[in-house]
Symmetry: C2
Subunit: 236 residues, 2 copies
Amino acid sequence: MPSSNESAKPAIILLSGGLDSATVLAIARDQGYSCHALAFDYGQRHRNELAACERVADALGAASHRVFSLDATAFAGSALTDDVAVPKDRDETEMTEIPATYVPARNLVFLSIALAYAESLAATDIFIGVNAIDYSGYPDCRPAFIESFIRTANLATKLGVDGNTIQIHTPLMEMTKAQIITTGTNLGVDYALTHSCYDPDPNGLACGRCDSCVLRRNGFEQAGVPDPTRYCSGRA
Amino acid sequence: MPSSNESAKPAIILLSGGLDSATVLAIARDQGYSCHALAFDYGQRHRNELAACERVADALGAASHRVFSLDATAFAGSALTDDVAVPKDRDETEMTEIPATYVPARNLVFLSIALAYAESLAATDIFIGVNAIDYSGYPDCRPAFIESFIRTANLATKLGVDGNTIQIHTPLMEMTKAQIITTGTNLGVDYALTHSCYDPDPNGLACGRCDSCVLRRNGFEQAGVPDPTRYCSGRA
């Protein structure tokens, strides 16, 4: 796979290590951007995410890949950062309520730092894999949040003041998980490199039962694409 | 001075170590909030700020005081973080253009993390010392930015979704520097504890010539309050 064109327009791609953001990176590269991948270490319990980010950035030819650390104290109280139970076996119809895996203001913090980083690289484009269809009930994945953030970003920055030019790209917003998987598969994403589970076992195998696993597995089934996820025993 | 009332409504107070945010902390305390002071270590060259934050939080009886670290790479290219010259001897009338001391998206990043921290404490109130009068030309100090951030914050968070309740308090927004100093003096702020200079000498003495020093010194003069700042030789 060719790496990003260094002379191309730069963009920041927020990576989580999961299926969605890997697909976003592939889409941004396909659109001709020079892709600067950015991940965050915010004390998340599922540390496999960060290794997956690195694998994905390498495999999809990101121009650069950085991990910024954030103080975990700012995000206390979530099942993703603290010793709070991850909800299991929820039906997709139950995923419209904000779950315990909600992390306070996470996408706002991630986008704000991505914006600072973009400005320091003179980039005006940021890609994020939020999704309003299979979104598990998080408030900061909705179109209204993204639209409001774009307005705020243009007011907050020198680049924005100069030309109202900050763009937040959300190519997955209106896709189902199956459509995301089909799109990424067509762009050559190897989903075996990604990690979605909120509660993996000590060997990094997926639980198969948290919201993230349920959405992912149903997505592969509906897309008719073989699921490469390694589940812990009984869920393979 | 009494410390904050622990049973009072909690608020996050963004501290920079400077004159403005010390005044904001005094105002929030005077309004009866239990004040959780928050400062950031983002690789700023003027490290005296962080020591000043601690002095101010202690002296004004903050209920807690935290310093969160941020990756300096995100804020590259500013005279406050990199080896770029700090502008000197600018007249106040020149301070409407964005100066080299602009740090990319800084207030957006600080407010976003303060919001996450607030939510983890079940607090809905954040205080920040932005000012639209003596503001040195920064885009992220304007009322339009703050108003847009409040809207974004309420869309980004569980607390906001539950009741549109996130409040960003900007008590200094329409005050002149002299009015800020008069207000703080009446509330018992000891401005000798604060640090405003963007380019202090190795002993921590203020240069007296950067935008921040010029605004500060003129403010004390106009308020008719003795200036406790220790300037380096020739500027006392």
